[in-house]
């Protein structure tokens, strides 16, 4: 049963603070995500979408409930075990790009491989391949300061991809970009999804969510609705 879904959330709650100041950000979230899906998570701020993403990204643990990832119950893992899960199966793309400053695009992309203990030659080849995939191979030796916002986000995507993850988590990936760059990034993500990577993306822009196959709406710490994305329904998957 649990093998059927890549990600399963059952009755997830998350409470911040204690006593009178306690705030329940998630009030019992149930969600199943299949391998190969492209999920857009939407909702007003404070609806619990970021908290859910943090839990899905194994950066945080739920207060109660079960989170299965690849059949493993993540809520019972310790900090280092969750780090290893992130290292092996997850890639992150953030709104603010979060590249290391004064470090070349290539070195940024190599970083996750460094933690995997790969040899320099392997790191280099894989990083170049990932940069090539996002169309930035010619910019490999530029630092973030020398790249545009869209290029920086592509480097970030390359960094998330370089370890060949199961899931790419993108938190407002187009939040800091203009419409044209946003569309480029979304097309890149769609392309990656076609190659088999499961994508979870938080966004508050409806037109970006349209690229997803599944759109999950959050409200007041609960899943309000799950619907099919309009572009996906046009039969994008090959």
């Amino acid at each position: 049963m649990s093998e059927d879904h890549l990600i399963e959330l059952e009755g997830i709650t998350k409470t911040f603070g204690q006593g009178a100041a306690a705030f329940q950000a998630l009030k019992g979230v149930d969600l199943k995500i299949d391998r190969g899906d492209f999920v857009a998570v939407m909702g007003p701020s404070g609806s619990g979408k970021s908290t859910t993403m943090n839990i899905l990204g194994c950066l945080d643990v739920p207060t109660s409930g079960i989170f299965r990832f690849r059949g493993v119950e993540v809520q019972s893992l310790n900090r280092d075990q969750r780090s290893l899960l992130r290292r092996r199966y997850l890639g992150f793309v953030f709104q603010g790009f979060n590249l290391l400053a004064r470090t070349t695009a290539l070195e940024n992309v190599e970083l996750p491989l460094l933690y995997r203990g790969e040899k320099a030659s392997v790191r280099h080849a894989a990083a170049m391949k990932a940069l090539d995939l996002v169309g930035l191979a010619p910019w490999a030796h530029h630092t973030p300061a020398e790249l545009s916002g869209g290029q920086q986000q592509r480097v970030a995507i390359a960094r998330a991809l370089v370890t060949d993850p199961d899931v790419l988590l993108a938190d407002e990936p187009t939040g800091n970009l203009d419409t044209e760059r946003s569309i480029e990034i979304m097309e890149l993500l769609t392309d990656l999804n076609r190659r088999g990577i499961t994508i979870l993306m938080v966004t508050h822009e409806a037109e970006m969510a349209e690229y997803a196959k599944t759109i999950v709406h959050f409200r007041d710490g609960l899943v309000e609705s799950v619907e099919q994305g309009s572009l996906a329904s046009q039969g994008a998957p090959a």
């Binding site: 280092d80 780090s83 290292r87 997850l90 979060n98 970083l111 933690y115």
Partner: protein, 400 residues
Amino acid sequence: MLGATLLLALREIRRHILRSFLTTLGIIIGVAAVITMVTLGKGVTASVQEDISSLGSNVFIVFPVRTDRGPGRPFDSDDVQAVASQIAGVEEAAGSVNSSVTAIHNGQNWSTSVQGANNAFLRGQSIEVETGRSFTDAEEAAGKSVCLIGTKVRDAIFPAGPSPLGESLRLDDVSCTVIGTLKERGQGASINNQDSDDVVIMPLKTVQRRFTGSTNLQYFIVKYSGSYSSAGIQAALIDLLRERRVLQPGQENDFDIIDTAQVNDAISSATGALTAMVAAIAGISLMVGGIGIMNIMLVSVTERTREIGIRLAIGALAREVQLQFLTEAVVLCCFGGLVGIGLAFGLSISIAHALDVPYVFDPTVNVISFLFSALMGIAFGYYPARRASRLDPIEALRHE
């Protein structure tokens, strides 16, 4: 992993090259100070020991001292003879007397001292003849007017002239023939605070007869074989001299014995203690340098909170982040240690040269200082590194 961590640390240091250098300045100065102080201390000790060893090793100096019973009776040649013949292990025993004189030659006047000493004394004190010859047995026995002159006397009385050998020199009213010059001995190599190069040496008997007017000795030296214990010889010497001076049990010695080995040890331990103290003070500057490292590492952790968040999100383990910051601190400190060693090398050589003490390279202090600076990196890098590793990735990523 360690190689990768080292690579990360080096990249980080390279990214902030000026700050890294300023941070390590404390360590650099600390290490340089410790090594320079210890090296100079060793140099001073070596030079003092060299002076003392020129007094002769395994040598006692015996002289009469005043007690409540009055002045100690002077020793004479019979005492010396008895010591030489009756105590096993004594290789040489020889007395000496000194007198102040004015040396005159060719209108040149020079205030100096004349020392009465035979060849046995010269051997015991390692006084060497540079040019010419030493006394013959006949000259010693007859108390001939022949003399050996120290370098200062030679320079003062026979400036840049032909060899003084064979020249006649007048000491007050006594005329003598120069038969040899002494090798330069340097400062400090003297028993009675005299400049050992500013001296004219004549046979003991000559000086006793012509200058001091008695058969008394001012002191005598006892050189003994290294295979005998210093304490054993000293005890035998005391017994013999007490007997010869008819001292009753309970009466204190009216003579004193200086053991050059003891003096050597005392001076060595004194300079050693001084060196240790100065090194400790320099060590404090090393500690302060370490605190500087900790300070900058803490600033660095705060400044790079977001970066730490990225690393953690990417899948770095807490201990890997900790290792990274610790490695950075240790690499900085080791770098500081190496530069400090280089600086100390230059400083020690130039200061040693300026102070006219020998430069004695001490590998131990270099290695220990280096290891200590690495240790400082671990000690003062640990807390910042631990703080970095404990950051919550979500909070860290949100950090502006």
